[in-house]
Amino acid sequence: MNINATLLGQTLAFVLFVAICWRYVWPPIIAIMEEREKRISDGLEAAKKANDSLEEAKLNYEAELDKAKSESADIVEKANQRASQIISEAKTKAEAEAEKIIASANKNLEAEINKTKEALRKDVSEIIVSTTEKILGDEISHEKHEKIISEAAQKI
């Protein structure tokens, strides 16, 4: 074992390398590790916050959805009511119209019937008169027996 100045040389080298490590190597590595640690814990916190707000958003969404559902149900009901109202109005109107049409048709029909009756009466009386004239000769003339013919026509 030979102790010499190598020992002092190594002591000096030790001090120098520790100094270099202390000054230039250690701080940036520690800094980056601490920064990462901070980032990770920040990230976890942010994730937790995001989770919380997600829960909140879910609750809000459900509430909104319920509201929208009841509103839409209201709207549908109103629409149904309105529709049935419109239908019943239309029905009433249509019935009235139909009655009116039937009434006027009946009236026309009656008028037609009367007209036909009148014509028939006239025809029949004329046929009777002419037939009677033929049978009786000139005794009965249209002019003379105007009154009787019209009375007979009335009776038909």
Partner: protein, 292 residues
């Protein structure tokens, strides 16, 4: 068949591997001849140990600085992973030992000790003849020595007590510095003299406490040296088996080398870790201000 000459060769082989490349001043001026080491006195240097030590220190700094320009907080990759793993491991150890006092230099120092000592220990896994032979051939080629075998080159810095005790000395100086800084000179002296037996037995206290204090750096340095020196010695002895011209012994040597190298990986890492932990523990003790 152990003849006289092979005995000498064996001894010479081992000695060759255990001799440092030493440079120092003799009466004839500066020289790097290991045969003149006795004349050099204290002011001589083991160029190989110091050279490898400084080189490996630079490797450590380079490795840990390399990724820093593009350090990322997002997804660390490659070298940054490794670097962060080391730093985190060291930091955890420091924080678990340094509970009360805080000192910003302990972390970097522990990291330096761990990685640097580990790298120095790791040189033990390079087969014992590779680098000395290479260095010898380069030296012979450039004309520094006549024969490659004349060049001495010891590769593993931690098998040199100067290196391990040199680091222990730095730690020792820091222990005394922080003891005085944290407790005051009075507190430090009181710690050395007033217990365990109280103020009436100050000389006894001092002897006990002084031994206790001195034992710290010496045990720190010698533990690392002893473990690595023994490991290196076994590698050299195993390598000796390849010197005999026998295939069977040679193969056995290769097998033993592999087994010992695998086992030695554990020792290398463990000794680096122990050196680091003890450094932290000693400095933590120096920071303790409470009275006993």
């Amino acid at each position: 068949m152990a003849t006289e000459s092979s005995e000498i060769t064996t001894t010479g082989y081992i000695e060759h591997h255990l001799t440092n490349l030493i440079c120092g001043k003799t009466e004839k001026g500066w020289t790097c001849d290991p045969y003149l080491a006795d004349q050099m006195g204290f002011w001589s240097f083991h160029v190989d140990s110091l050279g490898w030590s400084v080189f490996l220190g630079l490797v450590f700094i380079g490795l840990f600085r390399m990724g820093i320009p593009k350090l990322s907080t997002e997804a660390p990759s490659g070298i940054q992973n490794f670097v962060e793993m080391c730093v985190e491991f060291v930091n955890e150890n420091v924080q678990s030992i340094f509970t009360s006092a805080k000192n910003p230099i302990i972390g970097p120092m522990a990291l330096t000790v761990l990685v640097w000592v580990f790298l120095m220990n790791l040189m033990d896994l390079v087969p014992v003849d590779y680098l000395p032979t290479l260095a010898g051939n380069i030296a012979a080629f450039t004309g520094l020595v006549e024969e490659p075998g004349d060049a001495y080159f010891k590769v593993v810095p931690t098998t040199d007590p100067n290196i391990t005790l040199g680091m222990a000395l730095a730690v020792f100086v820091l222990i005394i510095f922080y003891s005085i800084k944290m407790k005051g000179l009075k507190g430090f002296v009181a710690e050395l003299t007033l217990h365990p037996f109280g103020k009436y037995l100050i000389p006894v206290n001092f002897v006990l406490e002084f031994v206790n204090l001195i034992a710290k750096p010496i045990s720190l340095g010698l533990r690392l040296f002893g473990n690595l020196y023994a490991g290196e010695m076994i590698f050299i002895l195993i390598a000796l088996m390849l010197v005999f011209n026998s295939i069977a012994i040679g193969l056995l040597g290769v097998g033993l080398h592999i087994i010992w190298a695998l086992f030695h990986i554990l020792i290398l890492a463990l000794q680096a870790f122990i050196f680091m932990v003890l450094t932290i523990v000693y400095l933590a003790m120096a920071h303790e201000t409470e009275d006993h």
